[in-house]
């Protein structure tokens, strides 16, 4: 990385192509909180001499010194065959432990619950921008919490639906054995090995004397929920496809599929298909469509978008009560609910297109948000899309959840919002500012807008070089305050100017306002590829390994274009790649 600000304009711009779609997700005050302007610009150590010669519009491989798409395209020219054949072309897939969401979803499905108990599990690791516990091992506290959670879950289990016999059955031993077989297969997502079966039955046997029949069965449930075969997505693989590369076992494949598309365990049909050996590539596609048609897919679609846009932070998002007395936990929950309902609708029931996600003039705001949006949704039947005020909103980026998370407690943040668009939509990482700076957002002088203050603040081209990458996108969202309400004046009472000029992208050029900005981004091939990258990482629970994955990604990029950026089709395509169906085993 160019650290001293010399060299060509392009290298000095300092955009780093992200290999993992970095996000500060889960971080209420992540680096985005620190990506603010340097007043002591002479101390800038690595940033960049500005964009006085911005790359021409439409140049997808500009400036980033080897952008993600550029590399991918070169690889792609070698054709499909290059995607297979050697272990180096398949990235390693580390053992993954269930995320907190996956744990809760799985418990609901496994134990036939309506909703999960309130579990106290430690936070998840983030890998490739998504929750994936694949690097750090568990510690003692985590295991302690798994014990407690398993006790909670076992106590809540709907035993009548799980027990293959009446509670007062005569031959309890036979029933317990049948229970271990049927429940165990669902808990471990495959039939039990003989020794595993024996161990679970030993728990039953050891406790039946001092416990009731059902209590003993609940102890079996507890045990299974503490087993690594439940807590981890264990992938051993089967036959070698090529040296160093194994096909996933059918049950392992079923498990990858269901955690990708449901964020939860496979259902009986999927396990039966695995059992019968019918889960080939064609069947996999059909099953992917079946899973997407099922409402359980809402959990995965919702989770993906919440993580992609860093909205998990919403859960604890605080706003200044002085500035936004109307902001409340109920409003915060409604913001989340709106976005989940919206993405689920578009991907699974609507036209499925990325463009719709980014430009729709409708949404699904709960009543708690009607005031914020200036609408009255009373006349709209429950579950139908609600039209938003014309010209004010455009898809995800103008939804309250996104606007509130990517703002300060008391005011908007042009920088944070711009950073979100640059990094999470365009998949380019802007380096943080040098450390020794006053990072207080500039205070507008009387009659000056926040935008003008920011521009004044970044007078020095050494600052603006980095900042226009973010700020010129972020200003497009200035019509929305720090909780997402549309406005015509900013905090200082100055009229909003939401015009900007996009640079360093394939959709360069001036625009006015969020609707036009969103439409521009929706037309960007970079954004299309970035969405593919994120879905790929979500599917695999790991960061993209560009050297190994480029070829497959290029295929997916091509398919995404052919389908007019249809998300559902992309998900089906992802599960059909060899990367999804195979395992590297060094």
């Amino acid at each position: 990385m160019n650290r001293v600000g010399i060299g060509t304009v392009s290298s000095a711009m300092g955009i780093i192509p992200t290999t993992s779609g970095w996000r500060g997700g889960g971080s209420a005050y992540g680096l985005s909180g620190r990506l603010v302007l340097a007043t002591a610009c002479s101390l800038v150590i690595g940033c960049y001499h500005g964009l006085d010669q911005p790359p021409a519009a439409g140049d997808a491989n500009d400036s980033s010194g080897g952008g993600t798409q550029g590399e991918a395209s070169e690889e792609g020219e070698t054709g499909v065959s290059a995607c297979e054949g050697s272990p180096e072309l398949l990235a390693a897939a580390p053992l993954r432990r269930l995320s907190g969401e996956q744990y809760a979803n799985t418990v609901v499905d496994l134990l036939l619950l309506d909703s999960p108990p309130v579990f106290d599990l430690p936070s998840d690791e983030q890998v490739g921008g998504f929750y994936s516990n694949s690097v750090a091992p568990v510690d003692e506290l985590t295991v302690t919490k798994y014990v407690t959670a398993s006790e909670q879950a076992a106590a809540a289990a709907a035993l009548d639906g799980l027990r293959p016999c009446p509670a007062d059955v005569a031959d309890e031993t036979a029933c317990a054995e049948a229970f271990v077989d049927s429940f165990g297969r669902r808990a471990y997502r495959r039939p039990l090995a003989a020794d595993e079966r024996t161990r679970l039955l030993q728990v039953y046997d050891a406790n039946r004397a001092d416990s009731t029949f059902d209590e003993a069965l609940r102890l079996v449930i507890q045990t299974a929920l503490q087993s690594p075969n439940f807590l981890y997505m264990v992938e051993i693989g089967t036959d070698e496809v090529t040296p160093g590369v194994r096909a996933l076992g059918a049950y392992e494949l079923a498990t990858r599929l269901s955690y990708f598309l449901w964020n939860s365990m496979p259902d009986d049909r999927l396990l039966d298909l695995a059992d019968s050996g019918a889960l080939d590539a064609d069947q996999l596609a059909a099953e992917a469509r079946r899973l997407l048609d099922d409402d359980r897919a809402r959990r995965a679609i919702g989770s993906f978008h919440l993580q992609w846009l860093e909205l998990s932070r919403l859960e604890l998002l605080e706003k200044s009560q002085q500035r936004f007395p109307e902001y409340s936990p109920a409003m915060r929950d409604a913001m989340r609910a709106e976005t989940v309902a919206f993405v689920d609708h578009v991907v699974r029931h609507g036209d499925g297109s990325l463009a719709t996600l980014l430009t729709a003039e409708f949404s699904f705001p709960p009543a708690a948000l009607w005031g914020l949006y200036g609408i009255d949704g009373t006349a709209v039947p429950e579950g139908d899309p609600v039209p938003l005020p014309p010209g004010q909103r455009a898809g995800l980026l103008t939804q309250a959840a996104v606007l509130a998370v990517h703002a300060h407690p008391d005011e908007t943040s042009i920088v944070r919002r711009g950073k979100l668009l640059r990094e999470n939509l365009l998949c380019q990482v802007v380096p943080p500012p040098p450390p020794v700076v006053d990072n207080t957002p500039p205070t507008p002088e009387p009659g000056e807008s926040a935008r003008d203050a920011l521009e004044r603040h970044r007078d020095d081209p050494a600052c603006s070089g980095c900042h226009i990458l973010m700020d010129e996108l972020g200003v497009g969202l200035e019509h929305y305050d720090a909780i997402g309400r549309h406005r015509t004046e900013d905090e200082t009472g100055v009229a909003i100017d939401a015009s900007g000029t996009i640079a360093a992208s394939d959709v360069n050029g001036p625009y006015v306002g969020a609707v036009e900005l969103a439409a521009r981004l929706a037309s960007s091939e970079r954004v299309h590829h970035c969405a593919v990258d994120h879905w790929f990482q979500f599917a695999h629970g790991r960061a993209i390994d560009r050297a190994s994955d480029a070829c497959r990604l290029d295929e997916l990029y091509g398919g995404f274009t052919s389908s007019d950026q249809n998300i559902a089709e992309l998900l089906v395509a992802i599960v059909q790649t060899d990367a999804f169906r195979q395992l590297r085993r060094d």
Binding site: Q226, Y232, V234
Partner: protein, 449 residues
């Protein structure tokens, strides 16, 4: 500029006492005998200090912490009648060794107790690089592993809103069992209370014995599955399974301890939101009391208490002059040279002193538990401007005679790894002369003993 100190501290004590009725009464150790060997407590607060207000006046054993300074509570009197400052070592001139693809907050936070560089990984660091976890174990974990394996808990990690803003990331984990093996602190005092004390049963109670037997049968099965799996997964994944197995073994070890019971325990009534910004001080008070109780009751000899996170954005809303805007947040303040930073750091200094007082209130042998403990309070930075020379480290306690406290020591410019080696020596690991992959090999800090 600031509210009267006495009333503020009295308020904090009041808040803590209302939530947890002291004292814990050790059963096995009620006679006040010395419980062989020193104990270690690591403390952390974030975003650097204000050096001019942190530095004591004077040198050596002749130093004062004037009213209004960050360490002013060191002039307080301990329960044993000594002054706090007689039982501390204020360490000036320590430089944090830094390494790895990360920003200074991340590097400093990792180096503070591990002496290691940040490993490459999946978190974004400075310069857009991808930071990971620490490259080696923290000093407390190496010590914990060296101690008597029959101690119920090898170590206990307490947090106060220690996931806030970050979740499970390099900014929020300061203790490591090894490279890429962060240890999660418990940030919920109610959960910690439950874990430590609530499961204690009466050995004469058959129901308690039945519960132990159940747990043992579950653990047997789980260990069988873990052992079976360890033989099947790839080498890199086997480490994860082994770590899991080790954690389960620790749980198993304590099944008996649950019956024996080491302390009479008061009840703790729950109810507050431990993640709410404004409850920070109350949670800190509860965790402090639980930490002291765990040491006092012989549940562990190694503990840590992490106040917030690196890059903390906490709002100290109970101090004068704080609103709820961006400018009121700790990390923002630390970059702005905000005058309230002195108040913030003084609050942490007061908490440090409260902990020392609590330890000193427990008689032990000829002295108090404080005489047999080493408390080390660190920070990931020296100042909010990301400087890393003169990181504000303070030691409290006597470490069972190893330390010669009661002094202000300016080392000029020495590596934090030397402090880590000193901690190892204080805890009996005197063969270790270096610690962490950033260590320059100069041994322990001179003149501490």
């Amino acid at each position: 500029m600031r509210a009267p100190t006495a009333s503020r501290r009295a308020l904090l004590r009041g808040l803590g006492a209302s939530a947890l009725a002291l004292p814990f009464v050790p059963i096995l150790n009620a006679s006040g005998e010395t419980a062989g060997g020193p104990r270690l407590v690591l403390l952390f607060s974030a975003n650097g200090t204000v050096y001019s207000h942190w530095k004591p006046e004077g040198t050596g054993s002749d130093f004062t912490c004037p009213p209004g300074s960050i360490l002013e509570s060191f002039e307080d009197v301990l329960p044993s009648g000594r002054k706090v400052k007689e039982m501390v070592l204020v360490l000036d001139g320590i430089r944090m060794r830094l390494g790895g693809p990360a920003d200074p907050h991340q590097q400093g936070f990792v180096s503070m107790w591990t002496g290691c560089a940040v490993r490459p990984g999946n978190f974004t660091g400075g310069s857009g690089q991808q930071a990971g976890w620490a490259g080696g174990p923290s000093v407390d974990q190496v010590i914990a592993a060296s101690l008597d394996p029959t101690i119920p808990y090898k170590s206990l990690e307490f947090g106060v809103q220690s996931d806030a803003g970050w979740g499970h990331r390099v900014e929020s984990r300061m203790c490591y069992a090894g490279a890429d093996q962060p240890i999660t602190p418990e940030s919920d005092p109610y959960a910690m209370f439950e874990r430590l004390f609530a499961s204690i049963g009466n050995p004469a109670d058959p129901e308690a014995l039945r519960r132990i037997a159940q747990k043992q049968s579950v653990i047997d099965s789980v260990m069988g599955d873990l052992t079976g799996l360890a033989g099947k997964v790839a080498a890199a994944d086997k480490q994860k399974i082994d770590a899991h197995l080790q954690a389960v073994r620790e749980l198993e070890k304590r099944l008996d301890a649950e019956v024996s019971g080491l302390c009479e325990v008061p009840t703790l009534r729950g109810g507050i939101d431990v993640n709410a910004n404004d409850n920070f001080a109350v949670v800190a008070g509860l965790q402090r009391q639980l930490l002291v109780a765990a040491l006092q009751c012989g549940l562990t000899r190694v503990a840590s208490l992490q106040w917030a996170t690196a890059v903390s954005q906490h709002i100290f809303s109970w101090l004068p002059g704080f609103g709820d805007t961006l400018a009121d947040r700790h990390h923002e303040m630390s970059h702005n040279g905000d005058a309230r930073l002195v108040d913030v750091n003084r609050w942490y200094g007061d908490e440090f002193t409260e902990l020392l007082k609590a330890l000193d209130a427990v008689p032990e042998g000829d002295g108090t538990m404080l005489d047999n403990t080493i408390v080390v309070w660190g920070n990931e930075l020296a100042t909010g401007y990301h400087t890393t020379h003169r990181v504000p480290f303070v030691i409290g306690g006597g470490a069972a005679g190893y330390l010669n406290p009661g002094r202000y020591l300016d080392y000029g410019d020495v590596s934090n790894t030397r402090l880590l080696v000193s901690i190892l020596h204080a805890m009996g690991l005197t063969d270790m002369q270096t610690f962490g992959n950033l260590d320059d090999g100069s041994g322990p800090l001179p003149d501490l003993t």
